[in-house]
């Protein structure tokens, strides 16, 4: 299932959260060779994890980490502006309606299904919170994965070539894309919506209605 957890909620899911930070270490350091910080438990964290970001996590049937990504609004400190600003346009991208998506990570047996489920989760955030775009940083391998699940970002700027190419890109989300990624994830749009509503609270009686 898809979980939506702020940083301060992760401690309630130690297996899931630990798996996420370890899979991040594997993906970003071991596999891609990025210069990221891995602690003595083999978990990768950076300066943005302490800002209480919102994580969208694909949890597998046994409770383990299948894939995840991390969101922060571009009005605060974000990687695309602070680290990859030179790939953009010389001035920061900034809007409450544009969120940054980083650390898109797939578990070792997550695969394309997990990637599609995460995209579906991203779509829920956009629809549910009025967000217009996600902006994010990704490498050549992820570019292929995004293409394979039918959710290619639009590249705003890039550096490096071939396998080492790093890009800043942009996603938006349409109803058509929602159906497509839902089918690839093997999750019905209704179920996905239910997970989203569960995470952010269910609609109940209007709070004051009985005394209004």
């Amino acid at each position: 299932m898809l979980r939506y957890l702020y940083g301060d909620e992760l401690s309630a899911y130690p297996k899931l959260a630990g798996g996420m930070f370890r899979d991040r270490a594997y993906q970003f350091r071991t596999r891609m060779g990025w210069d990221v910080h891995v602690d003595e438990n083999g978990e990768e964290r950076d300066n943005y994890d302490v800002l209480n970001p919102l994580y969208v996590i694909w949890e597998q049937a046994d409770g383990s980490h299948g894939g995840s990504m991390r969101f922060l609004p571009t009005t605060g400190p974000v990687m695309v502006n602070e680290v990859f600003g030179h790939l953009l346009d010389g001035a920061p991208l900034e809007s409450l309606l544009i969120w940054e998506c980083t650390r898109f990570c797939l578990g070792r047996d997550g695969g394309a299904r997990a990637a599609a489920a995460l995209m579906l989760g991203g779509g829920e955030l956009m629809t549910g919170f009025g967000i217009r775009h996600f902006v994010g940083v990704f490498d050549a391998r992820m570019e292929r994965i995004y293409r394979a699940i039918g959710s290619s970002p639009e590249v705003l700027g890039a550096e490096g070539a071939g396998r080492d190419r790093i890009s800043v890109g942009l996603w938006d989300f349409s109803e058509a894309a929602r159906g497509r990624v839902a089918a690839r994830a093997g999750v019905s749009p209704q179920l996905s919506r239910l997970w989203f509503q569960r995470a952010f609270g269910r609609a109940q009686d209007a709070p004051f209605s009985r005394c209004a």
Binding site: Y6, D8, N52, L54, L72, P73, T75, G76, L88, D89, G90, A91, P92, L93, E94, S95, L96, L97, I98, L125, G128, F129, G130, R132, H133, V135, E154, L156, L170, D172, F200, G201, R202, A203, Q204, D205, A206, P207, F208, S209, C211, A212
Partner: protein
Amino acid sequence: MVKRNQLDRILEALDATGTLEQLDEIILGLRDAYGVAHLVYHWVDSAGDQYGCGTYSDAWRQRYLDQNYVRVDPVVAGCFQRFHPVDWKRLDWTGKAVKAFRLEAAEYGLGNQGYSIPIRGPNGQFALFTVNHSCSDEAWTKFIEAHGRDLILIAHYFNQKALEFEPGRVPEAAQALSPREVDAMTLLALGYSRAQVADSLSISENTLRVYIESARFKLGALNTTHAVARAMSRGLIVV
């Protein structure tokens, strides 16, 4: 229905505001423009100090402070450390203290519906921008669908203003537009369509939307026309 140019005028006034007192007037104008019961900006800093402006009655404000309701209010608890907008229906209104708080709020004239936008400012600053109203769930859902995005932007512009008024604060340099943003706004000001602008800049319309979105935000505008007008009046683009 909210009139576009009315909103633009109010945001112009917000931009020109130099004192906290004027914020009250502006928020009143916005409340009337939206035709809702209440509109409130509420700042809670890390030391627990509070500042607010809006249309709640003085009696309710005083009661809220006297009773230290900031510790009980599920809206504050539900928005703190978050950055997504929250419909009050989705908060936890159970618990004895919360139920009593809710009953009392209604006595002081609060409506049954609420939508609060959390704002994270610099150095742990936290604020809420809330719209409150009395209506059915269906009507409320429609209202939020129609105005939610604008309210998110207005919330942010209010917070920027409130930050400016903070004692001892060094004013930040005006947000610069990036070269692409300047190009896009200039071509729009010249009357080009979005498709023509995208074509002229050799970018897709999708990418263009992001530049416009970001420029609009930096300019404190709700729509593209308003953003173009502002960019011109501030001399950021020359046509």
